[in-house]
């Protein structure tokens, strides 16, 4: 008889694979006890043989199993011992993987586009080089209009007929001349004035808005901007005032202020007791609509314009306008946005 328990005991005490191999041939090989027992089966009658064979098979299987298990165990042990010797210092620096960034102006343009997209505005564009007519005259700012003095204009010719646009408003003219009412557009873009100091840069970014349709009145203008300002600053409540002003191409015209307070030198937009001007707007002047051949008996609407750089400064706490354009690697890294951080409505405009 095989002492099964003893065999299994010995297997479990095997020190290494070699010993286990020896035990395997000893217990299961040709000359093993169990093999001898199998050979003896022929001497038994059929009934006894059946019972005996099944019991032997059972024993053989148990031995095999215990050897296999022990083998796996020893193998694991060996791997672990190997790994123990092959450790790396994971606190070493990771391989370099440079991070790109999106400029705050681009990010804010995407944010604004996303906000206005929700209420049906589409994005329009126009050239940076403009005719004096589109930039001024068509916008109800004829030559000799003192409002022209407020725009320090870069010219590209001696006759002052070709210039770098001083605002995005000429795109209103281009859009209305090339299509049919209604119009519902926003126009982000570069604008230029030859003015350079602490708070002015010769190039900056504006966003123009234009909505022309039947029955669009000042209430719609107020509603539209109220929606925009809340969405942009991501606040539920914001103090806002419309203050009468003057732009040649809108009438009535207004400037919009929002409330803010200072906290540790930072501007917190919302319900403070101070006012900050953020944009200009108004009902499109009938003369402008006439200049682009729109029937003013049927159509009217509003326009607005705002400084994108300034909005970016306010929202993201950037102090110096000029730093936007200085391409300092450190600044871009600090104020730039991850390219995967695409402003969307469902995920939130900003993180």
């Amino acid at each position: 008889m095989v002492d099964l328990r003893e065999l299994i005991q010995r297997v479990s005490q095997a020190k290494d694979k070699l010993e286990l191999q020896n035990l395997k041939s000893q217990f299961l090989g040709k000359n093993s006890q169990i093999n001898q027992e199998f050979k003896k089966l022929g001497l038994l009658n059929e009934n006894e043989r059946k019972i005996r064979a099944s019991s032997l098979n059972n024993e053989k299987q148990k031995i095999t199993e215990s050897i296999n298990n022990k083998f796996k165990e020893l193998e694991n042990l060996e791997i672990n011992q190997k790994l123990e010797k092959n450790q790396v210092d994971v606190t070493l620096p990771a391989r370099e993987r440079p991070n790109g960034k999106i400029h705050p102006v681009s990010q804010v343009i995407d944010e604004i586009s996303s906000i206005f997209s929700e209420i049906g505005f589409s994005v329009a564009e126009g050239p940076d080089v403009e005719s004096e007519y589109n930039n001024f005259t068509a916008l109800n700012t004829p030559e000799d209009h003192p409002a022209r003095d407020m725009h320090d204009t870069f010219y590209l010719d001696k006759n002052k007929k070709i210039l770098l646009r001083t605002h995005t408003s000429p795109v209103q003219i281009r859009t209305m001349l090339s299509g049919k009412a209604p119009f519902k557009i926003i126009v982000p873009g570069r604008t230029y004035r030859c003015d350079s100091d602490q708070t002015h840069s010769p190039m900056f970014h504006q966003l123009e808005g234009l909505h022309i349709d039947k029955n669009i009145n000042m209430g719609h203008l107020k509603g539209c901007l109220d929606y925009f300002v809340k969405e942009f600053f991501e606040v539920k409540k914001i103090r806002m005032r419309f203050r009468p002003s003057h732009f040649p191409f809108t009438e009535p015209s207004a400037e919009v202020d929002i409330g803010y307070r200072l906290e540790n030198g930072k501007i917190i937009v919302g319900e403070g007791d101070k006012w900050l001007e953020i944009l200009g707007c108004g009902m499109v002047h009938p003369n402008v609509l006439k200049n682009v051949k729109i029937d003013i008996k049927k159509f009217q609407g509003f326009a607005f314009g705002m400084g994108i750089d300034r909005l970016a400064m306010l929202k993201y706490g950037i102090n110096d306008l000029r730093s936007f354009f200085e391409t300092d690697y450190r600044w871009l890294n600090y104020f730039g946005f991850d390219p995967l951080d695409v402003p969307t409505n469902y995920r939130g405009l900003s993180r």
Partner: protein, 800 residues
Amino acid sequence: MIITLSWLKNHLATSATLSKIIDKLTSIGLEVEGIKENHGELSDFKVAKVIKAEKHPNADKLKLCEISLGDNKIIKVVCGAANAREGLVTIYAPPGSVIPKTKLKLKVVKIRGVESHGMLCSESELNISHESDGIIELRNKEKDVGKNYFKSKGEKSIDISVTPNRPDCLGVRGIARDLSSSGLGKLKKHPPIKINQKFKNPIKVSIKKEKDQGCGLFGSVYIKNVKNIESPDWLKKRIISLGLKPISAIVDTTNYVMYDLNRPLHAYDADKIDKEIIVRNSKTGETFEALDNKTYKLNNNMCAITDKTGVLGLGGIIGGTRSGTELSTKNILLESAYFFPSSIRKTSKNLGIDTDAKYRFERGIDPDSATLGLELGMCMILDMCGGEASTFSIVGKLKDERPIIDLELDKFFKVIGLSITIAEIKKILTSLGCSLKINGKKIKVLPPSWRPDIKEDIDLIEELIRIKGFDKISYVRPERERSKETLNFKQKLFHFSQRAVASKGYLEAVTWSFTDSRIDKHFSQGKKEIEITNPISSDQNVLRRSIFSNLIIYLKKNQDRGYLDLSLFEIGPIFFGNKPGEQQVVLGGLKSGVTNRKSWDSKTRNIDVFDVKADVIKTLIELGINEEDLYISNKAQNYFNPGRSGSVNFKSPSSHQLASFGEIHPGIVSNLDLKEGNVCGFEIFLKNIPEPPKKYRIAKRNYSVSEFQKSERDFAFIIDKNYKAGDVEKMIREVDKSLIKKVLIFDVFEGGNIPEGKKSIAVNITIQSMEKTLSEKDLNEVSQKIINIVKAKTGGTIRS
């Protein structure tokens, strides 16, 4: 426009407080910009703290100081004083202020290449003492940082930003009228004058009838036997509160009336006038010395006030020294005239003169105010200086050009979205000076003479809502409905490419559309520069012809700061002409330095043309172009190294260029003296990216993959050294498009046992059928085909 409370109360009976008045002004469109205390020329000087003082980068003896006025702004000032140092509290003069010692008006200037916004002052510069060694050191004044250094003597003045359509509010009375209209008080009536004007004005005045005559009306009064004195305190105070300098009772009177009624006056020393006054067009070459002590040379057709000798002054713009009043003046001629805005504007622009009078005339003076101005001016002068006044002489006549405007009640509702009653309309417009005729819902309105801006019904609607208040309009919530796509294809490309390139490790820069012609010429491929007529400085004098022109300047600046391994890009317009539309959107990137600088496990290597090629190709694929459609050749722009650059075209070399990439030409790198000379760049020309005819999801082929075993075979060919690897790759792919799934060149080498002028090129080819597992025979057949074709086309051999 500056007013004071006491001055305002001369015209407005009100019990409202200052803060109430300020709020009201702003809410009716007269934006209050600030409350100032003017005390003459010294009001600009502020107590400031030096936050940082470091050596000027380009000058040993200068310092670059960052100073604070206590808010969160930092002002950069270049200073030559040895004692300028961090933490020092001193006195700061901002741009625009006038230094008492030198009388120089400060401007923002570049000092040795660095902008300085104002200056820090020594005691001598402020006329406090003769101490000129270093800037003032204020001790224990930290709490005063941001405050005026010189204590106030004037009254608090309200600084109002008056929009160009409101000339009437360039006078205190106009502002008072608006306030009274808005319900904040009652406009006082002008007191009647009782002056005995016994004699006739002895100086004859005539306005010459000629084309483009700039003067429409010339009123004057002669006052004899005056004793010009220093103004009394009350007048001096008001003049100072305006930020002006008191000069004499007569001059101060003319300034006072100008600010009181928006009615410019001019006083001549009558004894210095040669016989008579003739208002006529100037002739080219005539000169005169103006009150700003400059001599002006006139052109044809400028509106000149002249006498028998010559030009006395430019009407409505500036008077001359020859006829100026002095304290010794005995007899004066006081002028109250009307000059046409367009004439004023033309002349002042031409000569570059800006004065308070010019500012008012070009916006439009009340044409009916000549007499009122003479009355007030005369009374004040008689009061202060004594003397006797002549009767008024008024020469010329102005046509009343005011329109009668039809205003319909419903129009207001249509534009504003708010209703208004006839009674309200009547009340508001009347209080602003309009005359009304009402017939049911139709109203005829005659605007007052002082409101040249009111021409049509929309102007009246603006007046009505301005006074009624914008806050009365309720918000209409926007509809969330989109009938058109927000972005078109090109705009989407812009956004995709921007984020695609940023995701490859590039920082996005936004630089100016103009640049330095000396840099631009490196990237303009010999094309003419696109000049700006009036550039802000000589290093920003042309529109850029390439994104690289600015980007490389900033690359250099960052390198100079010690950052050598850089990746920058910009997406924006470049220009190819100076007409509207002669521009295109380009994305340009620059990369400099090495990868794995100081790495513990990877080898440091120079970034090279294949780094930027990878970025370009990957981006183009992300923009929706099939990799097989990218045709790559070595014909790139001449600002790249000709042997290490490439061009990507759509499908064939003759089609539009999608992109370029390569090493920036070493000649340019050395010319610009870059610290790290290893610079590569790429450009993607967005306008050449083709718009697919169908949406991507629709154009995509049905998904199918092979169920059968794939095989790989390696080949090595020996071909001509100049034969392009890309061409070999392409010809192999085309041997059997259904079986050859992938072609990968994995080794290229020259020398060794390879014959001179040849190279070995090793290719790994993946072969797989959609229909069956390929047998050894099938594979050999394809292989042989590949070998034959490559041999035939390249004239090369297979390596055994």
